[in-house]
Symmetry: C2
Subunit: 342 residues, 2 copies
Amino acid sequence: MKKEPQNKEIVLAEHPSGVPTQSTFKINTIEMPDVKDGQVMLKSLYVSVDPGMRGFMDKGHIGYTGQKFNLNEPITSRTVAQVVKSRNGGFKVGSIVHGRLAWQKFQSINSDTLELIDPDLAPISTAASLLGIPGLAAYFGMLKIGRPKKGETVVVSGAAGSVGGIASQIAKIKGCKVIAIAGSSDKINYLENELGLDRGINYKKTADMTAAVKQACPDGVDIFFDNVGGEIFDAVFANINKKARIAICGQIAEYNASAPTKGPRPMHNLINKSALMEGFVVFDFKDEFEDAKKQLASWYNNSELKYRENLVEGFENIPTAFIGLFSGQNIGKQMVKVAAIE
Amino acid sequence: MKKEPQNKEIVLAEHPSGVPTQSTFKINTIEMPDVKDGQVMLKSLYVSVDPGMRGFMDKGHIGYTGQKFNLNEPITSRTVAQVVKSRNGGFKVGSIVHGRLAWQKFQSINSDTLELIDPDLAPISTAASLLGIPGLAAYFGMLKIGRPKKGETVVVSGAAGSVGGIASQIAKIKGCKVIAIAGSSDKINYLENELGLDRGINYKKTADMTAAVKQACPDGVDIFFDNVGGEIFDAVFANINKKARIAICGQIAEYNASAPTKGPRPMHNLINKSALMEGFVVFDFKDEFEDAKKQLASWYNNSELKYRENLVEGFENIPTAFIGLFSGQNIGKQMVKVAAIE
């Protein structure tokens, strides 16, 4: 007789102040879920952890998607899962799906927020990364706000992250010179030698970032794809060209701050340079998701777009993987492999 | 025998620190100019003074148009003048012209930077205001960056200034609800009762501007046309809607600062609201100037667009008129009438 698998969940144990720690989370052993009519039971395979989730952990947070995490409730994140039981005609047992799921080994949910994955298009874990939110953020931020033209100079901050790496390569595909900012020599090596970007700047080893950006971009900066904010923003912003486009994608320098930090007001330079700063979330472009995924998969399958997953194994290590995002060490998309496909 | 007129000029006597004073300027009596071949001699009629000129007075300033004012050289500004002598076939004696001219009663210049004015289109002084840089800034900033749609809520700061008043009315013409921020009860009265805007907010009498904007804009702010910056920016910015457009036209709160002031970084809210901030100068749109002027003149002649000039008389009063821009008292476009048309 097959042993009933053990189920576990990870809940928010306390609202973090600053960088989350192990005590932010608590792992509980829970019962296996029922499967009601219309539902499917899912087994989590790959769980995505993302810096942007940090904001949802604050007390009283209401984010742009209305997400927040409540005390003693499971954290949710983009997850690739397999259907292990089905009482829904649209989903066969064995199918691979993607959606925002709870940090639970097994869960039963209604199917309306689930997306079926075609495992032949690309490795299934990419549904939460290259073909998921990070890839789409890179795609729309670079193409719709950056609007790269051949020969332009593009700077990407947080370039070794999941969004930054893809955004940088899309700019290369479009014929731009790409300067990548990251925070370790391993990352710079990855960006210059593995992704083939024109130049990496290690901000942790650079005393004067404004001068370093100027030196790397002698023709000025036409597009700035910003994942970081703070003083790295200021350094790139001081070097923008007339008619520069700045896509504000993420602000990892800000996610652990309890209120917006202060910095030099950018308005005067925006006027002097007739420049544009635009924030976005991928859902602004949801009508174009399918076309974008096909294009990203095509670039990936043609080896024009490289992509690295940073994989941690084991459900219990999800908090560690999440906390590690804020230490500046991760290269590529941070995923946690919870179980193998059956 | 007709007496030769006396000529005068106003030069930059010292680089101001903060708000300019009378000692920033010096009035000299100078000789009447010669008229070389290809030149015209101009008599200044209307001289425009604008807050944006302040930046050109700083030591070592290089502005977006390359303008700066040097010590002991005449200040220049948009001026309407009459041709009194001509050695240039393109300009007859008596013609009215517009251009960036020196603060001199009479001057001779080459004609390539002069624009002929059609006195039948609108009062000639409007060449430096409604049909000049302020009108064009309002027109392009509101239509190209704001992109107003019927029923949207628009906030204009510095609304009683020459740009703000026109920008506010263009938004009304486009069917928007317009909230105007200004700094005196006279201005609020002008904006609400003379220009017919929906609501004025006197920031000098308002303790909590963020709450006041929220109360005036229960549906949030779709377009913010900002002439001011600083804390007024912050208050409006806290109330923007999803997909808001912010046209950064001027930053009068900053012009007397020696370095960019610090404020809350706007990036996080730009992401949350998928919003856009864009700076511009009118010259970005110079290919469309003639169409814009025709449209502005048409609205003016149909009484859809009202326009107030604040006129000071006398060449010697140009510095006083300029300094007065920073006291927050001026309504409409500040001009100095130097001489009558002959």
